[in-house]
């Protein structure tokens, strides 16, 4: 966000990390994955007859260290229930969850986990600074460096100037930023964010995207949930599409982008069409004056076209994503109600 400040001092996620000058924590023994979820099941009882309502059923996935893993699903698909089970806020009926190698029911498993809830709501009687001090105590952060750490995270989310205002006087977007700040406090190795763009204006959304990319670059593992396809498409390395409480499909960024198509906007070279390079004639572009639109059905073709444009000294004005692979995949999952 504004005045970005690097929180981590060591990019290696297994090394000792700290935001407090002179203070280091012993490194945890390395584990293969940041999070492992196996057959997670959770139902709810409702009404006088205690009828069982489906929450999630047999959800399994693994989040690799240093990646952004997204849970994508429509409202009510089971994303928040999954996250609540991961953090032991809800007791799963069945299944196993490990966070950074520890069982999720052990409070110490959450020491290196930051969490942003879907609708962050904090104590209105506190100021932003007091709130972060409170959370710092709950995270057992050393008091000596806590103020420095708070100043750092507040600056990172662009809330440094509003830190002494009572929370009841902050806007929804500012509360969301503060929510992100409290999630970043304690230098977490794993961030769990439920709808992190919720309540933010376009600038704020861009800031959060940049922040998440920066955190990934620093080695932080991020699990985020959203029902907004473009946000996930721009950020996620791996996506799990959740439908009716089950993981309907898991796919990597490469799989998603391979299913997308593009239009390259460029300018035609000098001379008539018969004087164009062979590759351009084969591509059969649409022409409007000097402007050309060249279709690329997949990323491999897009790469070739861009290289050819460069080789032919044609300036590329823009590349338009014509059909997003993830959106198609998501819609197909919704329509078929299961795996695709």
């Amino acid at each position: 966000m504004h005045n970005p400040v690097n929180i981590r001092t060591a990019p290696d996620q297994h090394a000792a990390v700290s935001v407090v000058p002179g203070h280091t924590q012993p490194a945890d023994p390395p584990v293969a994955e940041a999070m492992s979820v196996v057959d997670l099941t959770k139902g709810f009882r409702s009404g006088l007859l205690r009828r069982r309502l489906r929450g999630i059923e047999g959800i399994s996935f693994t989040v690799k260290r240093g990646e952004i893993f997204a849970l994508l699903g429509h409202n009510g698909a089971g994303k928040t229930t999954t996250i609540n089970c991961l953090l032991n806020l809800c007791r799963p009926d069945a299944g196993r969850v490990t966070l950074l190698g520890k069982d999720h029911a052990d409070p110490s498993a959450r020491r290196d986990v930051g969490y942003l809830p879907e609708r962050p709501y904090f104590f209105e009687h506190l100021t932003g600074w007091e709130l972060l001090r409170f959370y710092g105590d709950l995270l057992d952060r050393p008091r000596a460096g806590l103020d420095t750490e708070i100043a750092t995270v507040l600056a990172r989310v662009g809330m440094a100037e509003a830190s002494n205002r009572r929370l009841r006087k902050l806007s929804k977007g500012m509360l969301q930023r503060l929510g992100i700040a409290q999630a970043l406090l304690g230098d977490p190795k794993l961030l769990i964010m439920d709808e992190p763009m919720s309540g933010l204006d376009p600038m704020g959304r861009r800031d959060v995207r940049e922040l998440l990319r920066a955190l990934r670059a620093e080695g932080c593992t991020i699990l985020l949930s959203s029902h907004i396809v473009p946000d996930i498409e721009m950020l996620a390395d791996t996506v799990a599409i959740i439908n009716q409480g089950r993981v309907a499909r898991t796919c990597s960024r490469d799989e998603i982008t391979a299913r997308s198509s593009y239009i390259v906007h460029t300018e035609s070279p000098a001379g008539g069409t018969d004087q164009w390079p062979g590759w351009l004639q084969e591509a059969c572009p649409e022409q409007a004056g000097r402007a050309l639109r060249i279709a690329a059905p997949d990323t491999a073709e897009l790469r070739d076209i861009l290289e050819n444009c460069h080789g032919s000294s044609m300036s590329v004005r823009s590349v338009e994503t014509q059909r997003t692979g993830l959106e198609d995949l998501f819609m197909a999952v919704q329509e078929h109600g299961g795996t695709t």
Binding site: L87, Y121, H125, F134, L138
Partner: protein
Amino acid sequence: MNPRHILALAHNTYRETVRDRIFYLVAVFGFVMLASTAVLSPLTVGAQAKIMTDVGLAAMVVFGLLVVVFVGSSMVRKEMEKGTIVTILAKPVGRREYLFGKFLGLNMTLTAMLAVMAILFAVMLLFAPGEFSPRFLSAVYLAFLELTLINAVAVFFSTCVSSVLAAVFTLGAFVVGHLSQALREFGRLQSGPLQERLADAVYYLVPNLEVFNVRGAVVHGDPVTAGHLMWATVYGVGWSLILLILAGGVFARKELR
């Protein structure tokens, strides 16, 4: 149990009640005391200090009870409904730590309230005609123990039922707690064994709050023995711990969504 977590939660709860202007109740207490002195003085020739002691000690318990009922009963439920609890329990904080921290925080508020009220009360007694009895400190201490126990009752109910029901049950426990001894004696006077057993059950299931009521002794100059203070301390702390352990058991199974 991590003491730093508990203290942070307690301090936050205390700060919340203070910033929610709970101490206006103390101002009301002062006003009630002054008003009662002005009204009762002409009616109580030679017994003004006794009446003030009685009214003052009763007012302390009643105002403390109001704080417990209105703040304590909704303390946990409010955080569950608003969602402030999820960011706390997503940190490495145990549920029992959370509950104990909230309980301790409200007790800090009660302590501060009682301290201010006791000072105000003592100053007024010093200026009133008649004898100032230092025994009132014992009564204040027992009022604190009683409110601590009622606080634990409120925390217990706030983990089980809605805020409104928790307030009603807490108030009910206060009333029955003061009547349980009388109920037991009344049950023994009945001919049927069923009534006697029922009265006994109420007596043992609900804390006997008359243990903490020494207003009569203080007003009439009777001694409050160290043995009674000791017994009341063990009784109050014991009941509070039992209720907090039960509340912790219920809260550990609570679904937060």
